[in-house]
C-alpha cells in the first residue's frame, strides 16, 4: 500500500491536502535534496513536485528516473513556472527516437 506526496511551496500545494494527498512544505527547508531523497526512499508511489522546486532538485530527480518507483511528476505551482514538465516529455521522446517527432507540429 503506497501513498502519494505533493511537495513544493505552501501556497501552491496546500489544497492537495483536502484530497487526501500528503502535503510536504519545502518552503523553509535548509537541505531540500536530503529531505527529497528520504521521501523517495519511503513509501510513496508518486511524488508531485512543483516546477519551481524541481529546479533545485534536478540531479536528484534524474537519479530516480530509471527506478520504477517513485514516479516523480512535475506540476505547475502558482509562481516561477518554467514549463520544465512538458520539456521533460519532449526530452524522453528525443532520447527514445533521436529527434522530437511529437511536439513539432
Amino acid at each position: 500500500m503506497y501513498r502519494i506526496a505533493v511537495i513544493g511551496d505552501k501556497d501552491s500545494i496546500y489544497g492537495f491536502s483536502a484530497l487526501g494527498l500528503e502535503v510536504i512544505d519545502f518552503d523553509m527547508e535548509d537541505n531540500p535534496s536530503e529531505k527529497f531523497k528520504d521521501l523517495c526512499n519511503s513509501n510513496y508511489a508518486a511524488i508531485y513536485v512543483t516546477e519551481a522546486l524541481a529546479q533545485n532538485l534536478e540531479r536528484e530527480i534524474n537519479h530516480f528516473k530509471e527506478q520504477i518507483m517513485p514516479a516523480i511528476i512535475l506540476i505547475p505551482g502558482i509562481k516561477n513556472n518554467t514549463g520544465i514538465g512538458i520539456t521533460n516529455v519532449k526530452k524522453s521522446v528525443e532520447q527514445a527516437v533521436g529527434s522530437d517527432i511529437i511536439f513539432n507540429d
Binding site: M1, Y2, R3, I4, D11, S12, Y14, G15, F16, S17, A18, L19, G20, L21, A45, A46, Y48, K65, E66, I68, M69, A71, I73, I75, P76, G77, I78, G85, I86, V89, S92, V93, Q95, A96, V97, G98, I102, F103
Partner: protein, 215 residues
C-alpha cells in the same frame, strides 16, 4: 583492422562463423524488440502529452481559485480548515512487462467512497472560493494519477529504447562487419597457404624429375 588480431587457423574460422550466426540472430531479435518498443512508446507518449496538457491546464485554473481563497481568508482559518483531511488516497502498485521493461500499473483507492469528503471543514468560516478550488482540484485528480503512471512508463521505456538502439547499432555497424572481415581474412589466408603448398609440391616434383631423368 581485424586482420591484425585474427589468428588464421581453421579453429578460429569456425569460432568466427559461429559468432557471426549468433550476432545476426541477436541483431534481428533486438531490432524487432526496438521496433515494437518504439510503437508502444509513441502511443504512450502521445497519451502522456495530452494528459499533461490537460492536467497543467486544470492545475492552473485550480491555482487561481486557491489564490482567491487564500486572499479572502486568514491563514489561521485556512490552516484549521485543511488540518485534518477526511479523505485519504492510497495506491496499489503492480507491474506490467512490456518487451522486458517493467512499467508500473497504479490502482488508487480513496478511504471513503463519498465524493463530498474532500471538504474537510464546516462551511461556516471558509470562503466559497475554497470550495471551488478544492472541487476543481478533485476533478483533475484521476487524470493526475493517470499521468503519474503514464509519464513514468514513458521515462522507463525511453531509457530501454535508447539502450536497445545502441545495441542494435553496435551489432549492425561494428560486430557483424568485423566478424565478416575476420572470416574473409582467414579464408583468404588459408586459400593462399593451400595454393603455395600446391606450387611448392609441383616445383619439388619438377626438380626430382629433372634429377632422375634429365628432363
Amino acid at each position: 583492422m581485424a586482420s591484425k588480431t585474427v589468428n588464421p587457423t581453421r579453429m578460429e574460422l569456425t569460432r568466427l562463423k559461429k559468432k557471426l550466426v549468433t550476432a545476426m540472430r541477436g541483431h534481428k531479435l533486438l531490432k524487432d524488440k526496438r521496433d515494437e518498443l518504439m510503437r508502444q512508446f509513441l502511443d504512450l507518449v502521445r497519451e502522456n502529452k495530452e494528459l499533461r496538457e490537460k492536467v497543467e491546464k486544470g492545475i492552473h485554473s485550480a491555482n487561481k481559485n486557491f489564490v482567491l481563497a487564500r486572499a479572502s481568508m486568514s491563514d489561521q482559518i485556512l490552516n484549521t480548515a485543511l488540518l485534518a483531511p477526511k479523505q485519504e488516497v492510497t495506491v496499489e502498485v503492480s507491474t506490467k512487462n512490456i518487451m522486458s521493461v517493467d512499467i508500473p500499473v497504479m490502482n488508487w483507492n480513496t478511504r471513503t467512497p463519498d465524493p463530498n469528503d474532500i471538504y474537510s471543514y464546516g462551511f461556516a468560516f471558509t470562503s466559497a472560493d475554497l470550495d471551488d478550488a478544492v472541487k476543481s482540484l478533485a476533478d483533475i485528480l484521476p487524470d493526475m494519477l493517470h499521468l503519474a503512471e503514464c509519464e513514468k512508463s514513458c521515462q522507463l521505456m525511453a531509457v530501454e529504447i535508447e539502450k536497445t538502439r545502441r545495441r542494435v547499432n553496435a551489432l549492425e555497424h561494428v560486430v557483424i562487419p568485423e566478424t565478416q572481415a575476420g572470416i574473409k581474412y582467414i579464408t583468404m589466408k588459408l586459400d593462399e597457404n593451400e595454393r603455395s603448398t600446391q606450387i611448392r609440391l609441383m616445383k619439388v616434383k619438377d626438380m626430382m624429375l629433372k634429377e632422375a631423368h634429365g628432363y
